[in-house]
């Protein structure tokens, strides 16, 4: 085909309007969320003492950390859906949840504790945490990748990794309401391992699916 002909054809299709990436991503995540929610409720469910747990600031802190991760990853992933965008100037957003968590660890250190540090870190749910977060995140990761396919990321693996962070953040928010380990040390260890796993899956899938 002649390039001239192609140009004429593209111009004829000028009136077609694609939806913004943010809208497609939101729709895909909203479609995936009930699936993840159902998986969570069917297997784990919210912990029975949730009403009293809510008075423990370290229980609440888990949600602040996981939601901060999800929100900053959503912002970064939308930024990266533009081909000329890079992580420069945006990567610090992803450090916000880590910073909140570090502040949590510091304040726990300053309080008198019943249990020794290592016991709090190891907790009693580490294995569940490391399996549940990745599994619950899979539908959300699929939704995030479908949404971001609508964009044009210059580095598909990086965009996929951010999609992994995003879905791990959302999945961890659900899981946090089940888990009885509230120490920031536990969160910093096991949630991070689970999130790293989902991020790696996201990077791998993204390198295949997010090319445009």
């Amino acid at each position: 085909m002649e390039t001239e002909q192609l140009i004429r054809t593209l111009a004829a299709d000028n009136l077609h309007r694609a939806r913004p990436v943010g809208l497609v991503l939101t729709t895909a995540l909203l479609a995936a969320a009930p699936v993840s929610m159902a998986m969570f409720l069917a297997t784990l469910g919210v912990r029975p003492d949730v009403m009293t747990a809510m008075h423990n600031p370290f229980f609440d802190l888990k949600f602040v950390v996981t939601l901060a991760l999800a929100i900053s990853a959503i912002a970064v992933s939308l930024h990266l859906s533009r081909p000329e965008a890079s992580l420069k100037g945006w990567a610090w957003l992803l450090l916000v949840p880590a910073g909140i968590l570090a502040a949590g660890i510091a304040s726990e250190m300053m309080m008198p504790q019943r249990l020794p540090m290592l016991t709090r870190l190891i907790g009693s749910n580490s294995r569940t945490c490391m399996t549940a977060i990745p599994l619950i995140s899979l539908p959300l990761l699929a939704g995030a990748l479908i949404g971001l396919r609508h964009g044009a990321p210059a580095r598909p693996a990086v965009a996929g990794a951010i999609a992994g962070l995003l879905s791990a953040g959302l999945a961890a928010t659900l899981y946090a309401s089940h888990c009885t380990d509230d120490s920031p040390l536990f969160v910093a260890t096991w949630y991070t391992v689970a999130t790293a796993l989902v991020t790696a899956i996201g990077a791998l899938a993204g390198s295949k699916l997010l090319r445009f």
Binding site: M1, E2, T3, E4, Q5, L6, I7, R8, T9, L10, A11, A12, D13, N14, L15, H16, R17, A18, R19, P20, V21, S81, R82, P83, E84, G151, A152, A154, R211, F212
Partner: protein, 181 residues
């Protein structure tokens, strides 16, 4: 050069607001620049430059299908060259070359007087045959026979809306097929 780029940005804004003529002018204006960049990139990678037109056409398709990712408040050229680099790298990888694309392959020199040149490439034409019949008919009517949407609709007894949908789907599936190669 700065003026050229500002002009592109203006044309793209018009295009987004529905001006098909501005869009046509823009695509015609950027094509020689893309062609020069593709040739430079292929030459740098030690590849024959006769594939450059395939790259140009792939870039144009990607520009078209991803133009909603352009921020209308940002200049158009950096966005365009980012897409172009991406497609050049794709094409070189497909040929098993591990190559660094020079950031400036596309931005370097914008020809003041673009040579009037018609060029043809084989990859899109080859993929055309694998499209569903209706999409192929519509695409060929508009691309090859230069029929308007309206004439195409009359010819195939379709509504203009259906022609538009078929045309867009044809372009999207062509792009998907080129990517899967």
């Amino acid at each position: 050069m700065r003026e050229t780029e500002d002009e592109w940005t203006g044309l793209m804004r018009l295009a987004i607001s529905g001006d098909g003529t501005a869009y046509h002018r823009l695509l015609k204006a950027v094509t020689p620049v893309l062609r020069a960049g593709a040739r430079r990139g292929l030459a740098r990678a030690g590849q024959p430059i006769d594939q450059s037109e395939d790259i140009v056409q792939e870039i144009l398709l990607a520009v078209h299908l991803k133009r909603h990712t352009w921020d209308a408040n940002a200049p158009f050229a950096p966005w365009l060259f980012a897409i172009a680099r991406n497609k050049l790298i794709d094409q070189l990888r497909r040929r098993g070359r591990r190559v660094f694309v020079n950031i400036d392959d596309f931005a370097e020199t914008i020809p003041d007087e673009p040579a009037a040149e018609t060029a043809s490439a084989g990859e899109i034409a080859a993929q055309l045959q694998s499209l569903p019949a209706r999409q192929r008919d519509v695409l060929q009517s508009i691309a090859v026979e230069s029929a308007s949407i309206k004439d195409t609709a009359a010819k195939f007894a379709m509504s203009e809306g259906a022609v538009r949908v078929a045309l867009h789907r044809a372009l999207a599936s062509l792009t998907a097929k080129l990517r899967e190669q």
